[in-house]
Symmetry: C2
Subunit: 394 residues, 2 copies
């Protein structure tokens, strides 16, 4: 008898449950596996032995995992102590858990490596499933969860762009998640279908933010177009690396920053006298099932399946990664590789400078080409009689 334990760590994505579904589906096809346990409430559930057998549920219920936001087995930000790690082999033995799959971001992969070291001699194989909306996990081409967050922002900004264009009197700043990495912010560029489409300015945390240049650009664009759509990362910093919005409040280890979008909109109102507003979809973006990317979901299922297969093969201490394949016709294809956890832990992956334009207010076509397949479809077509009227007068 051999069982699998799945543990979720950190903040949710729109497809983390799809990876869980992949694990369960794979387990059903593997003779070696009896039960798939979910750790209810993240890593602390391990030594509290809060396990639920997920294979006991009928397929139609399990299928709901593909369209359930956040994590259906819960998560935690509990910091495991040395004694917790030491207690684990006995817990796993008691429940015949031979395979442990940790689904999470950089922090969870660190935990994954530590559990691997604590349990490998006890014959427990620990494998990581990558997950983050931020796409900041190293080495893998991209991470499950990112494609959906990217699609959410791109499609939402496309819609906001049409809204702003229909009554072109103001500047609209959309704040995007990703405090240290601008991958989600950058994905807003996919909203554009033709030159001049929103977003008109994109600011990533990878580049120091210059208020004067921002105001110059907004002023010029507002004179040209009327309505201007700006997408700004929540983590924008100035030349000295200081967040452009001062902390609202600090308590112990936690710092609470003000909203970058609201700050920039206020700047436009006060310094330029132009109407401005800000939107901050925030966690609505990572929880949206309507704008989930089908490619992302399928890849999340694949990552779950492959993690279990790797565990059964004995590849402990590794994380599932994606490699982008070269194809003769340039079509999108990935393969899976297994990446040693220590290598993953070396650095947080931010957007390469080469993807960002010189002025630091946009991303280039290379980024767009890289990102486009991940959102799983095109931005819809809209009817634009204002444009057609202009053409008719030319």
């Amino acid at each position: 008898m051999a069982n699998v334990l799945v543990v979720h760590g950190g903040g949710p994505t729109a497809v983390i449950n799809a990876s869980l579904y992949g694990v369960i589906e794979e387990a059903r096809q593997q003779d070696a596996i009896d039960h798939v346990y979910g750790a209810i409430g993240g890593s602390e559930a391990i030594f509290k032995e809060r396990f639920l057998d997920l294979m006991a549920y009928p397929e139609d219920k399990l299928k709901l995992l593909l369209t359930t936001p956040a994590t259906a087995i819960g998560s935690s930000r509990y910091a495991l102590e040395q004694e917790d790690y030491e207690a684990m082999p006995a817990v796993f033995k008691k429940h015949d858990i031979r395979y442990v799959l940790l689904n999470g971001g950089n922090g969870t992969m660190d935990t994954c490596g530590k559990i691997h070291r604590a349990c490998k001699d006890a014959g427990v194989c620990v494998v990581g499933i990558p997950k983050t909306v931020d796409n900041d996990i190293a080495i893998t081409d991209h991470t499950p969860g990112y494609g959906s967050a990217a699609r959410y922002l791109a499609e939402t900004v496309a819609e906001v762009g049409v809204d702003v264009k229909s009554l072109p009197i103001h500047v609209c700043v959309v704040e995007a998640m990703g405090r240290n990495a601008g991958w989600i912010t950058a994905a807003s560029a996919l909203a554009r279908k033709k030159p001049g489409d929103a977003p008109h300015l994109i600011y990533l945390p990878e580049r120091p933010f210059h208020e004067e240049e921002f105001l110059e650009d907004v002023k010029r664009l507002h004179e040209e177009k009327g309505g201007v759509v700006v997408v700004a990362s929540e983590g924008l910093k100035d030349e000295s690396g200081k967040p452009i919005v001062p902390p609202v409040f600090q308590t112990g280890r936690s710092v609470y920053y003000g909203d970058v979008g609201a700050y920039l909109a206020e700047l436009v109102i006060k310094k330029l006298g132009i109407k401005a507003r800000s939107e901050k979809p925030g966690i609505c973006g990572r929880a949206s099932i309507g704008l989930q990317s089908a490619v992302d979901r399928d890849e999340a299922v694949l990552a779950g399946r492959e993690a279990l297969k790797a565990a059964i093969r004995g590849e402990g201490g590794k994380m599932v990664g994606f490699v982008r394949e070269e194809t003769p016709d340039g079509s999108y294809r990935i393969s899976v590789n297994m990446i040693p956890i220590e290598e993953v832990m070396l650095y947080e992956k931010s957007v390469p400078q080469e993807y960002i334009n010189d002025r630091g207010n946009d991303v280039d076509e290379k980024f767009v080409r890289w990102c486009r397949p991940l959102i799983g479809g095109d931005i819809p077509d809209y009817m634009d009689f204002q444009e057609l009227y202009k053409e008719s007068k030319r």
Copy 2:
């Protein structure tokens, strides 16, 4: 030869273009009509004669109107002057425009009444099509645009609720649109599928906001549940009628308020020491096509069709209204009536006090029953292993 002119006024909704589609479809079936012109850029387009013939476009293009956010013919907030009204009959005569349909909210209906008075002796029939996300137009049971805004907020809050529950450590405040009327805010109650579901607190601008009571309620719920989801109207006011967030900036006639959601989250952090964040989907909500309500869209098409029919019948100076029918099985059905514009203009419709609970932190089942059919479907089912685990331990 007789032509129709459609004019859009004020801010967009997710279905204003669906009403435009309804007008065009109806016009194609009416022998009396030759062309449907769109006024490109709102009411000022009338005397600038910026007209585009919309019937010239093929059906597959026009169908895109059903899924195009905002207004495909543009809009404006231009305040028409007396001389503009006086100039109109000649413009309409020149273009053989016998029917003018104005699509908009309270402000636009006022304009509609004025154009009617200015042009009725010239044989031009002017009819209003109601439109607003805020649902604050009087007499009609509800207004096209509201159902989609309501569905957006309800489904988004349901998703955010699952997100917050999966890592139940913080308070999340979602700010809802509607500065004077709480209809959109109230619709968040539809997110609930069972007792205890998010949202846990709902605050409407129709009731004075008491910070002390809010903090008491948040504290209690946080102790009970961990994660707490609050939905707050952007227009919350205190006992004296003053906005709870002081104006950030004032310039001429414009006042810029700070974000209520961010303000309340900060209050929770500072006064209760509990982690908190805020989300402000803002105009993303009125522009979302993915969460458009099919009922709302169909009714918007109907409103467009009925407006043209009424104009042809000679019912100028009226607005299309919806009446909720009593049905034997309690199922949802509306009929259309024509409401004199002067009656519409008497008051802004806010949420009746009887729909709000005594403590002012929720709406009641009567509101939910009234609102539910408008969002055009149920909130999806999600898989919740945390809940199933709890049940298994009972």
